[in-house]
Symmetry: C2
Subunit: 256 residues, 2 copies
């Protein structure tokens, strides 16, 4: 008898996020679901790990078909703890999100949602991070709920190369405008920060981080930003090797 598939689910918006509920509904269509998500919102936590605080586990639900627990740590903590301690068996797939807000372009490096997906891929577990371009608590996840399952099915069927995960972003548009998936590269560019300086009631200055993305390849139809601006959902396959090989060849000749 075939064992039922096991899907690990996490996110960075925390255990109470609406997007997590949507993703659980998607995951349930493919097998048993095991959710390990942060107790609190962890947006912008990137690939951070808890080195100085211990982790506890709070179970909200516990059955063969669906287990849900919360961990007072980062998304990557959740994945590490799930894979190494909590899961009853090695998962067939890891799903992260659905993130409230875009993780396209360079945002992938700041994202806790993608941190969790990437961490899973490092363990050799296929993973997909889903995001929508609306960071409000009540963001509309209906497009992902409708079109996400066919991508999940494909990844379960075909698999992904070792240590590769998918960064998937959905535009916020009507279903009738939606043009389908587009495979893309990560758009080049940088967040242009525009800190807001304020003074507190006690006369002390403080700064709020804000900013906007400067797209360095606006016209590139292969980029994820272009896809999203043109009513596609973007899929960027990603892998963590920071090495810049072209530069490596060049600077190897430095006399130092």
């Amino acid at each position: 008898m075939d064992k039922r598939k096991l899907i690990l689910v996490s996110n960075d918006d925390g255990i109470d996020a609406k997007g997590l509920q949507s993703l659980i509904r998607i995951a349930k269509q493919f097998g048993d679901v095991f959710v390990v998500a942060p107790e609190r919102g962890q947006s912008g936590m990137s690939h951070s790990i808890s080195l100085t605080t211990p982790l506890r586990v709070r179970y909200l639900e516990k059955s063969d078909e669906l287990t849900i627990c919360a961990v007072p740590g980062t998304p990557v903590d959740c994945v590490k703890l799930a894979i190494n301690q909590l899961l009853p068996r090695r998962p067939d797939l890891m799903l992260s999100g659905i993130n409230h807000g875009s993780n396209s372009a360079v945002s992938v490096i700041y994202s806790g949602t993608m941190g969790a997906a990437i961490e899973s891929s490092l363990y050799g577990i296929n993973s997909i991070g889903f995001s929508v371009l609306d960071h409000s608590p009540n963001a509309d996840f209906s497009l992902v709920e409708k079109y996400g399952p066919q991508l999940v099915a494909k990844v379960l069927e075909e698999g992904l190369p070792n240590q590769v995960s998918l960064n998937v972003n959905f535009p916020i548009i009507e279903d009738s405008e939606y043009k389908g998936y587009k495979f893309c590269k990560q758009t080049s560019g940088v967040w242009n920060e525009d800190f807001e300086k304020r003074t507190d009631p006690h006369g002390r200055d403080y700064y709020w981080l804000t900013g906007s993305f400067l797209n360095a390849e606006l016209e590139n139809e292969d980029s994820d930003e272009w896809a999203l601006a043109n009513n596609y959902a973007s899929i960027v396959p990603i892998k963590i090797d920071f090495t810049e090989y072209k530069t490596l060849e060049k600077i190897k000749n430095w006399k130092i």
Copy 2:
């Protein structure tokens, strides 16, 4: 008259770390130094940013030659705030560290020190992250203080390609054993976590994150782990494009 060079310095071990003092001594040899470092240790904070808390700035020193300030945020927060608000002019170079502990191989993705260096490179500012393979507060930074300046001088002279930074790790060995710099790729592999489960005095379980690195290319002389194990300081040029182009070509044909 040539303007003096301006060097931005940050780290992830916090404003009081011994390694930061070593790096300031190195930076001073090349021009004016502006330090923006976290108030507290931020090891393992990766590329995280503060989205829900404002940032304040505490000046410890303030002159044309040397400014030192502390920010209650992450290393990436420090760099963003420095570049966008605090620095008197665009810096010629950014130095991060010296980190107490290795940032070789996949550790680069968890590292706050490299988060700060990478963030600078995203703004087009050449950057170098320095680390030593000893995470104790009293780690010995004398090798970096001796051999770091020649690398800094070379980067100031030659420059680095746009958005490329250097991840530099030093072994903990005697000067007589040191073999010099070696240009490397990021070693493939994964941290194998081995959580330690304990029970608190109130009977509740908790977990401590611990683990060891599983090297997937032990014999590869081009890898940074090999260099460090063989008494070289490793230099890995890095750039943030997570796109896995090989896979992109392959999955473009998926019918979804």
